[in-house]
Amino acid sequence: MDEKQPNLYNLIKNGIFSENPVFKLALSLCPAVAVTTTVKNGFLMGVAVLFVMTMVNITVSIFKDFINPKVRIPAYILIIALYVSMTDMVMAAYARSAYKEMGLYIQLIVVFAIIISRAELFASKNKVIPSAVDGIGMGLGFLFALVLVGAVRELIGKGSLLGYSIFGGDAVLIMVLPTGGFFAIGLLMGLFNWIEDKYFGGMSSPGGGHGH
């Protein structure tokens, strides 16, 4: 286990920075655009994804020898749907107020490319603990990206942050619409890459192995 320690730290760092799901891997952009109209929405979606992704990674990792490789994709989808449905039902019964806020997002998670891609690329080839950490790292990276995109869109599109008005007057409605989501993600993606090039040049991950 000793030699695994730096490895785990790298996994978290990878998920947030060098392989950030939204800014680097450009996965799950559809939900990222759809829900990030405000900081709060982005945050809630990020938390839900973080939880489901970690649980799916753990489960896939535990059962990786049992799942026949030929039917692994339907099996992964099933596992994802299982966790999403369970979360949905448990929250609907025992966490009503949180469910009212998050219920809309939870069911969307079933079809997130980022979750199935981590199950396929990582959890199916690694032990349980690294898989869990990978899920947490990638989940945090997704959360971070959604909050950032949400902040940009809420500030420009609604003139507020976290629901508090920052500047009044006419906000730029297009930023709240899907078009603005692509603007925000594109610009942040560029900024992200520029910062990495300029200050961490050469250290950036080549992105190999993520061709698909």
Binding site: V35, T38, I79, V90, A92, A93, Y94, L104, L173
Partner: protein, 193 residues
């Protein structure tokens, strides 16, 4: 052939396991959810008719293909208003509503009980400024317009379909209530008014 059998068994076992887990979770959580929803409905009814000392269901009606209920609110034995549960087909879900209506068929309040509209756009139907627009309006003014308005219902920008669905649901509730109170549907609803 052997391989085919293997993957079939494999996937069947996974599906069966998932099914058993889901059935168990559902059996545990569903009664709690149903009870919670009923309690929330009670609360919403009271909130819509704060001065009522009794709110009783008087008739089942069908609105937007869904089963709904007309409630009568009384205070000291006198009818002070009605609450109609209603629904409207929105962008991505049926929006469940409770509509409070006074005996003159003017809307006095609106509660959104449940929906699955787009977060950030359609889900703004729950915001007070939108719901507040309905108060005091009769059937003739329950119309969605896209610009600012004093007489009608202003649509939420980017969520016209959800706005229309709610307005439609409210309007249907008022029309149904009139039918329930005055018998058969009036052929030309109050054009002269």
């Amino acid at each position: 052939m052997n391989d085919m059998l293997k993957i079939t068994v494999n996937l069947t076992v996974i599906c069966a396991l998932a099914g058993v887990i889901l059935a168990f979770v559902w059996a545990e959580t569903d009664p709690v959810r149903v009870a919670e929803e009923a309690r929330e409905r009670e609360l919403a009814l009271k909130e819509l008719m704060p001065s009522a000392d009794m709110i009783t269901p008087i008739k089942d009606v069908v609105i937007a293909d869904k089963e709904n209920v007309v409630y009568e609110a009384t205070a000291g034995g006198k009818t002070i208003g009605y609450v109609v549960s209603s629904a409207g087909k929105g962008y991505s879900s049926y929006i469940k509503l409770l509509v409070a209506v006074d005996p003159d068929y003017k809307v006095t309040g609106l509660a959104v009980l449940g929906h699955a509209e787009t977060p950030g756009l359609g889900d703004r139907i729950q915001e007070d400024w939108f719901k507040g627009q309905f108060a005091g309006k009769g059937v003739d003014n329950l119309v969605v317009v896209k610009q600012e308005t004093d007489t009608d219902i202003q649509a939420i920008s980017g969520a016209t379909i959800s706005s229309r669905a709610v307005t439609r649901g409210v309007k249907d509730a008022v029309i149904k209530l009139r039918e329930v109170r005055e018998g058969a549907a009036p052929p030309a609803p109050a054009a002269a008014k």
